[in-house]
Structure formats: C-alpha cells, structure tokens
Subunit: 522 residues, 2 copies
C-alpha cells in the first residue's frame, strides 16, 4: 500500500487530526521524491556493476552498490569526480572545446559554482547525503529585497531596488482590487461574508490606508524610507514616495517578482559551506579506489552475459576495456549519443532525442565587497535584461572586509548564452565587467580577475542539462528509463527534476533499486 | 550641504544617470540612519565621561569616547556586559524578579537569544561594528515557505504550510482581479495601455492559466505537489489541489503573510554566528578595563562642574560613588525612573512617560532536529494563535545530526506575554511544550530541557523595550534626547528604532556626537 493510500484510509476512518498525526509520524506530510536511505537487502550473488561517469549519480550508485555487496568499478572521463557538481578555485585549470584554457586566479577561500549553486529544502536526497556525510549547509539567499531589478529600457536604465517594485506592485494591485470590491463592483464574485475579510486582507497585505489607497506612510513600511529611522533628536524617518502601478507595469520589472515564490526557489535554500563540490568530494573519499579517472568511453557493448566497455586513457592514449555483468551509464545524453552502444531502438532513439541547454556563468573577483559596503546588498541576485542576465552576490562571509567573487553572468537557454559562449573566455569576462558596470559602476575600479564557463563547450557534457519538453517526455522518457538488457541509465536526464542535482541522485537511486530487484530475484 | 540636497542638485543639472552614478559613489542610494564610522576630531581637553549601563549603547560609547581621548568609566548593574543583547548557554544562571533562578541545561554549542535575534540588512551600524570587530554574520531565515501558519480554529487545528496559504491567497486575489479586469469591469480605473500588461502580470504573479483561473497544475509550481517529482520511471509529480480564496479568508491565516515583506523583516536578515552576544562580547574585550560590574546605581546628581553617581556593589552591598564631568546614561527608562536624579522637569517627565513592553521567550532543547528530519523545515518561524505565538527553528547547523534548540515561545505585548510571565519558569517551559506539541507532536518524545525569560521580570529592564506611540513621541521624545546640564541619555528608547539594537547603537552615536561638539567648542 502506498503511503498516500494509507493516509487516505486513516483520514476516512478516524478524521483529520488522527490523519495528521499519522502523516507526521510517517514523515513529511506531502510525499517527497526521496524515500529515505535506500535499502538494498538480499543476496547480490557477487554481481558486478560497471558505472560510467563519476558525477553525483555515479558516485551515489558506486557508494550504495558497494555497500550492498556488489563488485563496482567506475570509469570517469575527467581528472576529478563530481561532474557538473563543481566549484572552481584559484589555481584550477579549465579547458573547453576548442582548446581554450583558463587558470583561475581567485584568492584562497574564494570560489565559483559554475554549475548548480542552490539546493531547495525539498531536495531531500541531496540534503540527506549531506547529513550522512557531514557536509555542512548554509542558507543560499535567493531573494534579496535590497538587490536590483534592472532593465536598460526602464527608469532611464537605473536599477531599482527589488523592494520598491515588489511593494509597489502589491500595493497597486491591492488598491485596484480593494477599491473595486469596496465599491461593490465584484459583488457577483465575492460573497457578503468574504467581502469584509477580503478587504481587511488586502489592506494588510498591500499596506493600504483606510480608504484603500497605497500611500507613502504605510508604503514605506514595505518599500523603505527616503531617510531611514535613526537615533537621537534627528532620528525621525522620512517616508518614500511609491511608484504608480502604471509605472511598474510599463517597466516590465514585475517579471522579476515571481521566481522567489516558486516551489523550486522558495526559502529555505542552501549551499554547501565552501563550495557545491563538497558533497561530491565527500562521496569521492568513500569510493575513490573504485574510480578510474581520465577514461574516455568509446564503445559500450552488451550480450547475454554482461557488458564490455572500451575506453581510452586520455593521458596516455592507451586503449583498454572493462567488463561487468551490468552497466549503469550516467554519461550525459549529449555525449552518449556519439558513443557506439548496442541498446535497442527505443532507448537509442530516446538517447538521441533530447536537446541540451546552453548556459554561461562568469565569476568575477573584486578587490572589496562593494555591494555590501556601498549598497547594503548581502547575498541574493540582481536580475537584468542585459546579456549577463543575473548578478549573484556571495552568500557567505557577510560583512567581512576581504575580497569577494561575484557571479557576473548567468545566461541560460538560447540567444545570450550562445552569444556569450561564442566569445573566448577572456572576452566573456571582459563583457561581464563592461555590462555589469552599468549596474555597479564600482566594477571599473574593483575588478581583479575572472573565470568563464560555457557549458555548451564543456567536453564532458556539451551543454548544461537535458531540455525535456512535455512532448519529448511522452515520446521517450519511459524508454530512456527502462532496463535495456544489461544496461540502464541514470543522471538528471533520467528524472523529472532536470538540471538539479536531486534529479541525478533520485534517478540513480531509482536505477539501482530496479537493478537490485533484477539481481536478487534473477 | 546634506547628501540628498547635493544629489537633487546633480539630478537637476545633469539628469538621472549622472545622479545615479553620484548616488552610488556616495554610498547607499537612500540615506541610511548610520553615517559610517563616527569621527570625533578635536581636543577633548581631558574631559571625563561616566557611562551608566554596559549594553550595546554603553559599550559603543565607551569604545568610541576612549578612542577619541576621553577618560571613560562604565558602571554596569549585571555581572556581564551586553544587556539585552544576550545569549543563554548551558551552565548559565538566570535569576529574575521574585528570585526564581534557572540553570540552563543546554548542550555545548547550543544557545537561546532571549532578546534580539535578527538583524535587518539596513541596520548599518550593527553590521559595521560586526565588520570592524570581525564578528561573523550568517543568514537569519525570517520566512520559510515550508514552516507553518497555524490557528486552533482553522482547518481543524491542523497547521498549514506557509506556501499553501501564500500561493492560494495570491492565486485567488490574482484570479479575482484578473477576471474582473478581463471582463472590462475596471475599465474606468485601468487604461487600455496598462490593461494588457496588468493581465499578463497577474497571470505570472498569481500562477493563473490562460483564462485567469488558479488551478492545480500551475498552482503546484508555487504551493508544491501532492507527490514531488522524482527520478526514474515513476518520477512524475502529482499536482496538489489549491484551497479556495474563501477558505483562505475564513481561516484568518492570511494575517501571517505580510511580515516577511516589511522593511524590518525583509531578506537578507542576519544573526551573528554563535549567538547574538558576539558583538557585545567583542566590544567588551576592548573596554573591559573601564567597566565596573555588579554596580547598582542608586542616585545620579549633577551640578555645574560635573556628575556624581552613587551605587551599591551587589556582591558586597558596599556603597560607593563615581564622578565625572559628563554622564551618558543608558539605563532603561523603566529602571531609571526609580532612581533619584536631578534633571530638569521636561526630561524627568519624559523618563516617566514611556511604558515598557512585556515579552516572553522560551528555549527548548530537543534530542534531535525532527523539524528538519521529519518535516523539512530548515530555519524560519511557525506562526500560531496559541499562546506560544511563534516557534523559531535554528538558522544554523542545517541538516546536522545532533540536538537542537527551538524557540518554543515568543509572546510579546499584553495578554499572552503577561500570562506566560505570571507562571514560574518551569511552568512556562512545560506550557511551551504542551502547546507546541499541538503543532509538532514530536515534542512529546524529543523534549529534554528548557529555559524561559520573561522580560517584565528581568531586574535590569523590567520589560523588553520602550513602547513609544505617536502621541508619546510628540510630547516627550525631544526632551528625552536633549542634553540636560551634564547628563544625556542613550539606548533603544532614545531612538526611532525602538526594540532594535540598531536603535541603541545609533542613539549612542548621536549622543556622543552631540556631547563631543559641546566639549570641543565649550
């Protein structure tokens, strides 16, 4: 019986209070995609599994399968584990397709997460592995009311504080609806009983006065003051003047308001202390002896007895092969479709079908944390329609005196990401500085060095993540996730959480659970 | 010329872009209550200042005045500095009016901030002192979409996730307004040009479908899913069903929605790593030699030449006195009005006029972090109409395996705070556990020990903070902040930011700036 069926039964039999207590005792009230630590009981009969790829999906599978008694080997293309779960630090070398190589010049302690950089609270798999391996998490500030919303075409190109646009949009909407409801214009849509409550709720939520107007005095409690409150005889604050709803609408900046309320981006979000790669690093400590690095897979062949994988050592160019009874392949589809592999036509078609998303991130080291010192911006993200799209502020070391690394560009999907990617890395950094200076003029004097990653030029993934559409899911997802003979796939591409590390972890747990069932009953 | 006058001049002469660049180069675009590190230049001629109280106001004044060349002494009633900027840890003893004494039983590393517990990003004074004294700050999660809103009278007493109430309120309001606007009912209030943009904005903000309805599929992207997305073949998410706007309105839980958007509570908020008392601790390291602890002030007398303060050593009961040319008094008004003091009638009346707010906080040590492990609540606050009013979850150590301390009660202002305060400390803790278990049944098995602070019974403040009203401000604030002969006052009560440490700091800086002007020109 599934948990939600059990709960429905309890609810019907014993009422909502008992049901809630049962829900609580069964864990989360809603069903998480992660069911807790995986249990792979039973006799695995010495079965062997060859894992391709040592990103999070591969690492989790290697750790759990070995723990369950499997013979495990891992082939990894790169010189490090973690895959896209990656942090770049001073001294690291980054080589991309076409040969351009950067050596990161960041000071000690600073880093860029060029791939994933934030963890939602409901990504229970990632969080539980952090818990199990003592990887400390700290808050990732997704929403900062004092960061900017910026459009080159609005307010003369002057960035606006998020709190101004947010408060004035809510206030304007509440005023419009409040006055209409108060005037009886919506009496067909709102019952008499609800009307008074709605008016009260709108007044509180929108910071309206008694006549449902959104005005400086109450508005300033949300949008902030012209002059903040202080101490002593001159401490009285000066209210600020709200923008009209019409001005907010015309600016288009309201488009930046809804992200922080989305399930994937709601508080509380996290980042591992010290860099996103800390979980991959902890898992690598466990399974390092199983991993062969610098191994470029060239062919994957299966027959009734097992799987043979041919690879080339990228350091020596020597060809070699590994065999096992089973193969768990976590290679991104963008790469996998270029590798000779004898799976059935359905899986082969699925592997070929899903496009990958281009994405560029640029990290910029600044001499001082001017965004904090000059502008009181601590963490969070500024959103702009310039090609850099986002400026991300560091979410640790708040208020410290030293240097800092900004995320100076996060451009994803088509145009801007491709345009940025077409530049060489030094040009990407230069452009990030040039555009960013329109928002923070301090860039011009504070910038020291940068590093730029264009995922479409990353030789290990040729893109950032699998770009599933509803139609592609319908046509190919089941085939991609099936066990094809002795081969099965895992990675963010084999999940309903593409682009997120949780997708990689949950797809991996799903794959090894299904493989294990086959092995112990086979 | 004030900075905002300068900016207006630049704006008029050179347009908004240049003005904005000037604003940026001058620091914050809006005027902060804190003007940067205080400069007390000039010859202080060996002047002496006696500071009463070693809370944040007193500590800041002692540090800055000594640095400027003053002879400084501090009398402090308690055995420690920091005042209400306080953290309680295992082994600490807390004695309140009436004699009840608790010894805190928390494990090492755990603490309760019984007074202030969060710092807004615009409290530039507090943050700058942290920067100067290397006190690390971490994010304080004010808003957690996965914490609860709870009313004993709504939804059968079952706590609701914040994200459900928040999304369904926005969705319901957007649907109501969107449909009315689309039907032309508000054509008198919305221009044709704005109409299309407003509809688009409401659709995006409220997660509406094309016909402006708020329904499961789009709503789940905000409120979350019945079953979350996962990996592998069974990974498809199941959407959740929204509450109707009418149900949200009837529940009253919308009253918990607006706080996180208020200027004082917006992201990014902070807490000092390791406890709120870390800044006071750092300042105390600087000025410890100047402070006499356990000194209960009994009389403050001034004449033309200086000030004499009589006090009793609370350890020995010996009476003694200190003299200085000036006195900066930071004693809470609730205490000060009981001390003999020869100030003029205006200041005396002001000191007597402002009531103090009762407030109770209870800290509860739990055997494990069940709110994280069972309910995916990481930091933030659950709001309830039970007498405990709030449950605060720790904002550090996310995902760790050990114990944790919850804020199990934060009741402020009249009824509940007074009722809680009337109980003895052990009863307060027991009640916090009993009521909290209605929200988290795990309390019953996980609770270990607790500590309870009723501020109205704190012998050093007889309340939590000064409860200014507009009328009281008009009548008394200027008198309270004036220099009366050789005496002037500081503390959160002498600011427009009552209850906040920033008010204490800014009032102190204002006071010593005015005192200094008197000294160097006198």
């Amino acid at each position: 019986m599934k948990r939600r069926d059990l709960l429905a039964l309890i609810g019907a039999a014993a009422g909502s209070t008992v049901m809630y207590q049962a829900m609580t005792s069964l864990g989360h009230a809603a069903e998480s995609g992660y069911g807790g630590p995986i249990k792979l009981d039973g006799n695995v009969k010495g079965a062997s599994v060859l894992i391709l790829g040592a990103g999070l999906a591969g690492l989790v599978a290697a750790y759990e399968l070995r723990k369950a008694g499997y013979q495990v080997k891992v082939l990894e293309y790169g010189a490090r584990a973690g895959g896209r779960s990656w942090s770049i630090r001073g001294g690291d070398r980054v080589t991309e397709l076409g040969g351009a190589t950067q050596e990161c010049g960041f000071d000690r302690g600073l880093y860029l997460n060029p791939g994933p950089w934030r963890i939602p609270y409901h990504h229970g798999g990632f969080i539980d592995y952090c818990r199990r391996f003592n990887v400390p998490l700290e808050a990732f500030v997704q929403l900062n009311y004092n960061a900017y919303l910026h459009s080159k075409d609005a307010f003369g190109g002057k960035p606006q504080r998020y709190r101004h646009i947010s408060s004035d949009f809510s206030g304007g909407v509440a005023e419009l609806l409040g006055k209409a409801v108060d005037a009886g214009k919506l009496d067909d849509a709102v019952t008499k009983e609800d009307k008074e409550k709605l008016l009260e709720a709108l007044r509180q939520w929108g910071a309206l006065d008694k006549s449902f107007a959104y005005k400086a005095d109450d508005a300033s409690d949300r949008r902030g003051y012209e002059k903040d409150a202080g101490g002593g005889p001159d401490g009285a604050p000066t209210p600020s003047t709200p923008l009209t709803l019409s001005d907010v609408l015309k600016s288009g900046l309201w488009q930046g308001l809804s992200q922080a309320g989305r399930y994937e981006f709601q508080t509380t979000m996290f980042q591992p202390v010290g860099g996103m790669d800390r979980l991959a690093h902890a898992l690598t400590q466990e399974v390092r002896a199983l991993v062969r690095f610098n191994a470029k897979v060239t062919a994957i062949r299966q027959d009734e007895k097992g799987v043979t994988v041919r690879y080339v050592d990228t350091k020596t160019n020597a060809a070699a092969q590994e065999t096992a009874q089973w193969c768990l392949c976590t290679i991104p589809l963008s790469i996998l479709r270029q590798i000779e592999m004898n799976v059935g036509p359905k899986m082969a078609t699925a592997i070929g079908a899903v496009p990958y998303v281009p994405s560029v991130k640029v990290g910029l080291q600044m001499k001082r944390r001017f965004w904090e010192e000059d502008e009181a911006i601590y963490g969070g993200i500024t959103v702009t329609d310039l090609p850099i799209r986002n400026i991300g502020y560091p979410n640790s070391g708040f208020g410290t005196k030293g240097k800092g690394v900004l995320l100076g560009t996060y451009a994803i999907f088509q145009t801007f990401a491709l345009e940025f990617g077409a530049l060489d890395p030094a040009q990407r950094v230069a452009k990030a500085v040039e555009w960013g200076a329109q928002i923070h003029p301090q860039y011009r004097t504070e910038f020291e060095n940068g590093v730029a990653v264009a995922w479409q030029r990353n030789p290990a993934s040729l893109g950032c993540f699998a770009n599933w559409t509803d139609d592609l899911r319908k046509a190919h997802y089941a085939d991609l996730c099936a066990i094809d003979g002795r081969i099965l796939l895992a990675g963010e591409h084999a999940s309903y959480i593409p682009a997120w590390q949780e997708g990689a972890i949950l797809s991996s747990l799903s794959a090894i659970e299904r493989l294990h069932a086959r092995v112990v009953t086979g």
